[in-house]
Symmetry: C2
Subunit: 192 residues, 2 copies
DNA sequence: ACCTGAACACCGTTCAAGT
DNA sequence: ACCTGAACACCGTTCAAGT
């Protein structure tokens, strides 16, 4: 029916806008991408963007959601073997999205929309990291006696690791520096 | 002489501009501070700012230099006793400058001026942190046998710590979370 | 050398008007 | 409901003109 046709068109057009925004935000950065340039890339006029999104920050959040889903899917396909390799893989994934990471921090100061997305992202990320750490500890202690860090440490470590990952990406460490730091993190976890 | 008088006036006026910029950049953020508002706060017209600074990024660098000097001076006066307390004190100092920290990362992507300042800042910061770590290790091993981490670890740890500090500040950890994380860092250093 | 008023090209966003 | 052309208020920066 016409109702359905309209809904499909709207969804497709919205997706085209998000795709264009994702490419430009990642390639040129958020600030360097004007709504005018973005509209041109999506094949619409600038004000049409506001029919689909409240403002530029809401468009950023739509891009972030899409990129996170894509990154998680990529992580599912090739399961890294060791915890160190998982860490390294996360850094590599985030590397491509470096411009977005820095923008999220900057916009979180100004936009409640981006700030609440950022909060949820870290809450989910810390849980995900904690689960990976627990698996590592379990397989490490398999057969022997279980030796688990305190609850306080298990709360602090995912945070430390996420800051380390963001830091490595934001400061452009090369591959060998990343490997050294990721290995150090796991070694320090095992020494606790 | 008149030559000297002019030089003094120029320096004083430049300083007034930097002071106004420091207050507004720290309080409202870089993006939220327009050159017009900044000029008004400094008691000049907007275009006058460009007689003293090439552009807004150069003005930011002048503010950063001033704030770093002030922060170092504050650290000199009350020397923290333990390494954990020194770390915590650094986090507290940087907390006030949170808006600047995030701006430095954002502008480093767009402005070579800010990017090179950022590089120098981390080079100096890592050296400063490494020296503090070496003092800690020396006093810890005093009387016993010296037990020093590998050179690779001594290169990676200051980086990790600076990322942790930036992360704690950027993500607004409360005092108890900060204490837990700083204590963890030192504990993990000692366990190496 | 130093400072101004006025302008420039651009930005994110809005709105009256169309279909 | 959806989209447009034209406008709005603002931004960082420049420039001719004054002293």
């Amino acid at each position: 029916v016409a109702r359905n046709r309209a809904t499909v068109d709207r969804a497709a057009k919205r997706q085209a806008i998000v795709d264009a925004a994702a490419e430009l935000f990642v390639r040129d950065g958020y600030d360097a991408t004007s709504m005018t340039a973005l509209a041109r890339a999506a094949g619409v006029t600038p004000n049409t963007l506001y029919w689909y999104f409240d403002d530029k920050d809401h468009l950023l959040v739509a891009v972030l959601d899409q990129e996170v889903v894509a990154a998680l899917a990529a992580h599912q396909t090739n399961r890294a073997t060791t915890l160190t390799e998982q860490l390294l893989q996360t850094v590599d994934t985030l590397d491509r999205l470096n411009a977005l990471t820095i923008t999220v921090h900057a916009r979180s100061q100004l936009s409640p929309t981006v700030a609440s997305w950022h909060d949820r992202f870290h809450t989910a990320g810390d849980q995900w990291m904690l689960a990976a750490i627990r698996r590592h500890l379990a397989s490490r202690d398999a057969g022997g006696e279980a030796r688990v860090p305190s609850d306080a440490d298990l709360a602090a470590i995912p945070r430390l690791w996420s800051y380390a990952i963001e830091g490595m990406v934001a400061h452009g460490l090369d591959q060998s520096e990343r490997e050294a730091l990721c290995a150090l993190l796991v070694r320090q976890l095992d020494a606790l």
